[in-house]
């Protein structure tokens, strides 16, 4: 349908949806209500499991099976992106060093990128390791670590980025991270409990070695997410810098 008809249909639908929203919001408990039964129970459970960060406890301990699904979604998305962005029959990959270099960037940008990279790496590592103790976790830390590596690209140097992150290595670590998560879950079965039960000693509150399997699962997820994001971004960057149509110089 043409553009005007599409907008008209949308307007009618949006009006109906807006009315439905307002009616629904009226029926919700008022904003800031004291009554959160699931919240209270999950906080009690997290404290009993000696995990300071209740959200991480929910993600890796109380609802740990959903996180397995989340990890597999990420891996599948990277797989799909790799398949979609592979060189077609009429393209080739140009890995030679006389491929056009990245455009010149300002010195200030370059310096800031190089300075920020070790700081961001440290921050990402901290987020992954302290997932059970303070806000953070495997997913957040993995993304921060991947961002740190790509600050090299932001600082204007695709060649340096390409040499620093060998993609086959990151594909291997991605698989290793996901497998480690599942293996830790299966290890719980070996001790006679259900999949992903928290079977390690819970330790004492706020120590690094507390909350049982949660720090290990966090580390596995951190490695997997870091590798997934690096592989995914490498596919997109190769589209710009490496893949050339047949017949180009």
């Amino acid at each position: 349908m043409n553009r005007a008809a599409r907008i008209a249909v949308f307007a009618v639908g949006a009006l109906g949806l807006a009315i439905a929203f307002l009616l629904a919001f009226d029926a919700l408990p008022h904003f800031g209500t004291e009554s959160h039964p699931y919240g209270d129970r999950s906080v009690r459970a997290a404290v009993a499991q000696k995990t300071s960060n209740v959200v991480t406890s929910l993600a890796f301990d109380q609802r740990g099976f959903d996180t397995v699904g989340e990890e597999f979604i990420l891996v599948l998305a990277v797989l799909g992106g790799t398949l979609l962005l592979r060189a077609r029959e009429d393209e080739r990959e140009d890995d030679s060093d006389d491929a056009p270099r990245s455009p010149e960037v300002a010195d200030a940008v370059r310096l800031t990128g190089y300075l920020a990279m070790p700081i961001t790496l440290l921050l990402g590592g901290y987020l992954v390791v302290h997932g059970a103790l303070s806000p953070g976790g495997g997913f957040q830390g993995g993304v921060a670590l991947a961002t740190a590596i790509h600050l090299l690209y932001v600082a204007g140097d695709y060649q340096a980025l390409d040499k620093l992150r060998p993609v086959p290595l990151f594909k291997a670590t991605e698989a290793a991270g996901v497998s480690a998560y599942v293996a830790i879950g299966l290890a719980a079965i070996a001790t006679g409990s259900a999949f992903l039960t928290n079977v390690l000693p819970l330790g004492s509150y706020q120590k690094l070695a507390s909350a049982g399997t949660v720090p290990l699962l966090n580390a596995a997820v951190g490695v997997a997410v870091l590798s997934s994001v690096v592989v995914l971004l490498s596919e997109f960057l190769e589209q710009t810098h490496v893949v050339r149509a047949e017949g180009d110089a």
Partner: protein, 113 residues
């Protein structure tokens, strides 16, 4: 009914409006992100508790008065899912531009072999 919920509804409608009137695939993907973020706002608004703090404890709490952490973990999963969807959509947009030569969804209405 408060601003928190109405913001979520508004974000959703404006995101979908952006997709409907979009002339560029990348723009419509970003509008989809906006629509997805409306679900985060709604979930977090539902989980809010007056005068409560974040669900992270420095020491074993005697009387934990915190916001609802269950919806926060739902939003957490939601964000990861939306990031993966965005990545796949962007890959599709790249290939659409290469094969059809255009990023305008109005010009991409016919299937090409």
């Amino acid at each position: 009914m408060t601003v928190g919920y109405v913001v979520a509804g508004w974000l959703f409608l404006i995101g979908v409006y952006g997709i409907v009137v979009s002339r560029d695939l990348v723009h419509s993907i970003v509008c989809l992100s906006v629509a997805q973020s409306s679900t985060y706002v709604l979930l977090l608004a539902v989980g809010y508790r007056d005068h409560a703090t974040a669900p992270v404890f420095g020491d074993i709490p005697s009387n934990p008065h915190v916001v609802d952490p269950v919806v926060q973990s739902l939003v957490f999963t939601d964000i990861v899912v939306s990031a993966t969807v965005t990545a796949l959509l962007l890959a599709l947009a790249v290939q659409a531009k290469k094969r059809a030569g255009t990023r305008n969804p109005d010009d991409l209405s016919e299937l090409r072999g």
